[in-house]
Symmetry: C2
Subunit: 340 residues, 2 copies
C-alpha cells in the first residue's frame, strides 16, 4: 500500500499540484468547481497530509509535548497524570494534534528533552508540570521561544502563561472547616518544599492558624512512597501533644496515613480527622472514606491545551488564569472533635 501524495491527486484531477494544494487548504486561487473535484479525488484516494513534509515546509509539527518527571513506580499509583492527559487529549484530538510523551529522570533531563524537541521540530509547544522555585525550565523555554503553558504558579512563570490552582484558598477552606468542627491542633504532611504549590499551602496553613489563634501547626514531609507516608503519620501521632486533624498533600499519602492511624488503634474520625488534597477514587475505596479537596483535573488539562494552542498561534487567550477553586468534599474521615 502506497500513501497517495498531492501529485497523485493532481494527476487524477487533471490540474497542477499547486491547484490541489490551494484546494485542500481552502486557499483562494481555484474555482469552486475545481476545488470540489480535487476534494472528491482526495477523499477517494484517502489522502492525508504527510506530517513530516508539512513540518519541514516550516509549518507546525502537529504535536505537543509532555515530559513526566516521575519514577516508574509512582506514575502508576498517581491518578493525576492520566487524568490530565485525558483532559489534554480531549482538546488535542479535536484539532487532530498529537501528544508526545516522555518520561524523564530529573529536571536536567527534562530540559534536555525540551531542547531536543525544539531542535528536532518535534513539538509545537509543551505543558510544564510541577513548577518549582526558580525553576530553570522557564528560562530555557523562554530562550528557545518554545510555546509553553505552566500548570502551577502564578508566581515564577516568567513570561509563560500559566494555570494555577488556588492552593492557599483551598487550605484556608480546610482549616475553617476543621476549626468549625472543633479542631485546634492541626498537622500537615507536606510534599517537596521546592514545589511552588506545596509552599503556598504551608504558608497559608501557618498564616490562617496564626490569624485564628490556633497553635502553630506541626509539619512533616513525606514523598509519595508507602514507607515515607507511614513514617510521617507515625511521627505526628507519637508527638506529645498529638494533633487531632491531619492534612495530607496527596490522596495516596492520606490513605497510607489512615492505615497507620487505624493500626495505632485510633478511631477515625472520633479521635483523629484526616483530609487529603487531591481527590480520587482511592479516597472512596477506603473505610472510612476520606474527606478530600477535589479538583477537575481533566478540565484543567483541557484548559491548558486551549491556552497552549492560543500561545502557539500567537493570538489572544494565552493569559495566565486560575483553575477553578478546590471543592471540599467532606466524607467519613472528618468529624467533630470532642475534648476528652
Amino acid at each position: 500500500m502506497k500513501r497517495p501524495t498531492i501529485a497523485d491527486i493532481a494527476g487524477r484531477a487533471g490540474v497542477s499540484r499547486s491547484a490541489v494544494s490551494f484546494a485542500l487548504n481552502d486557499q483562494p486561487g481555484v474555482s469552486e468547481e475545481t476545488r470540489q473535484r480535487v476534494l472528491a479525488v482526495a477523499s477517494e484516494l484517502g489522502w492525508r497530509p504527510h506530517s513530516a513534509a508539512r513540518a519541514l515546509r516550516g509549518g507546525r509539527a502537529g504535536a505537543i509535548g509532555l515530559a513526566l518527571q516521575r519514577p516508574a513506580r509512582l506514575l502508576g499509583a498517581e491518578p493525576f497524570t492520566m487524568e490530565l492527559i485525558s483532559g489534554l487529549e480531549s482538546e488535542l484530538s479535536a484539532r487532530s494534534c498529537g501528544l508526545n510523551l516522555q518520561v524523564v529522570e530529573d529536571t536536567e533531563a527534562e530540559i534536555a528533552t525540551y531542547r531536543r524537541w525544539w531542535a528536532e521540530h518535534r513539538v509545537d509547544g509543551v505543558i510544564v508540570l510541577n513548577l518549582r522555585d526558580d525553576d530553570p525550565r522557564v528560562g530555557v523555554l523562554e530562550d528557545l521561544h518554545l510555546p509553553a503553558v505552566v500548570i502551577g504558579g502564578p508566581a515564577g512563570t516568567g513570561t509563560l502563561p500559566s494555570i494555577w490552582s488556588q492552593d492557599a484558598s483551598g487550605m484556608t477552606d480546610v482549616i475553617e472547616y476543621l476549626a468549625a468542627l472543633g479542631h485546634r491542633r492541626l498537622a500537615h504532611v507536606s510534599g517537596d518544599p521546592n514545589m511552588r504549590h506545596i509552599v503556598d499551602r504551608a504558608d497559608a496553613l501557618r498564616e490562617v492558624c496564626r490569624l485564628r489563634g490556633l497553635p502553630e501547626p506541626l509539619t512533616v514531609r513525606a514523598d509519595y512512597s508507602d514507607e515515607d507516608s507511614a513514617q510521617a503519620t507515625r511521627r505526628l501521632l507519637a508527638a506529645p501533644d498529638r494533633p487531632t486533624a491531619i492534612i495530607y498533600h496527596t490522596d495516596l499519602t492520606a490513605v497510607t496515613g489512615l492505615e497507620v492511624a487505624l493500626e495505632m488503634g485510633l478511631s477515625v474520625p472520633d479521635e483523629l480527622s484526616l483530609v487529603a488534597f487531591n481527590d480520587s477514587r482511592l479516597c472512596r475505596l477506603v473505610n472510612p472514606k476520606l474527606t478530600a479537596l477535589a479538583h477537575d483535573i481533566p478540565g484543567r488539562g483541557a484548559q491548558a491545551a486551549r491556552m497552549l494552542f492560543a500561545a502557539i498561534e500567537g493570538g489572544p487567550g494565552a493569559d495566565s488564569q486560575p483553575a477553578e477553586p478546590y471543592r471540599l468534599l467532606p466524607r467519613g474521615s472528618t468529624g467533630v472533635y470532642r475534648t476528652r
Copy 2:
C-alpha cells in the same frame, strides 16, 4: 534562536553538505580526520537532525504510537497504563524514540488513528492493547504493513508478534492455592468477555474446578466502575450458597468488593477470601491487604518496545513470546476456610 542545519556545519567545517551527512551518520566516504572535524563543529553548534526532514526523506518517523481506548475517569484509576508506558519509555528513550499517545473512544476510532498515523508518517509502529476476539485491528495493521506488537494473545494476533500473559496458568495457581486453604465454592468477578485474556481465565477456572471436582464456579461480570463492582460482589454474596472465595479480574474491582464484603458484615478472610488479578499499590493500601496475582508491567512494556523495534527493523527478535508468569502474592485477604 535559529536551529543549525547541515549546511551551517558544512560552511564552518569547509566541506560539502554530503560530507557532513556522511560524517554524522557514520557512513564511509569521508576521512577520519574530516569526520572528527565535522563532529566537533556539529556538537559546538548543538546540531540535531531535523526529525521532519529525516522522516520526509523516507527514513523513520522516530516515534511509536499507543492508542488508549479508555474513558477518562478510568485511565486515572488504573495503574496498568502508566506502568506500561514507563516501561516502554525506558527502552524508547535509550534510542531517543518518541512516544505518541492518543486517547480514543472505541475500536473504530482506534483504527482511524492507526490509518492516520500511517498516512501522516507519524509513527514507525504501534503497541496494541487488550486484544479481543476477531479483533479488527489486527487485519488493518497487517494491511497497512504498520509494524505492531500486540499485548495479548497468543491466539488471534494473525501475523503480528505478541507478548501474552499466561492467564490460564495464573488462574490455576489461584485455584490450587484456594483449594489448599479448604475453599470449594469459588466465584469469579470477570471483565469484558470480548477480551481474549478474560475468556482464557474464565475457561481455566471452569476447567480446573471440573478437574478437581469442585462445584461449578459462579461468575458475574463487572466493568471498572465503582457501582458495577460493588453490585457484582453484592450479587455473589447474596446467593443462596454463598461462595467462600472470590477472584476478581482487577485490583480496582477487588478493592471495591472488599469494601462491600466488610459492609455486609463478613469477616475477611475468616468468612470470605478475596484474590485480585493485577497487583498494585492499591492492594496494599486496604485492610486487610489483598492477595494478588502480580505482573511486572513495566518489564512487559520494555519487552514490547524491544520487540517492536525488532519488527520495525525487520530483523529477528520479533517473535511472539509469553510474558513472565503471574506471581501469586498471598496477603491478608485470603485464609483457611473453616466449615462452620
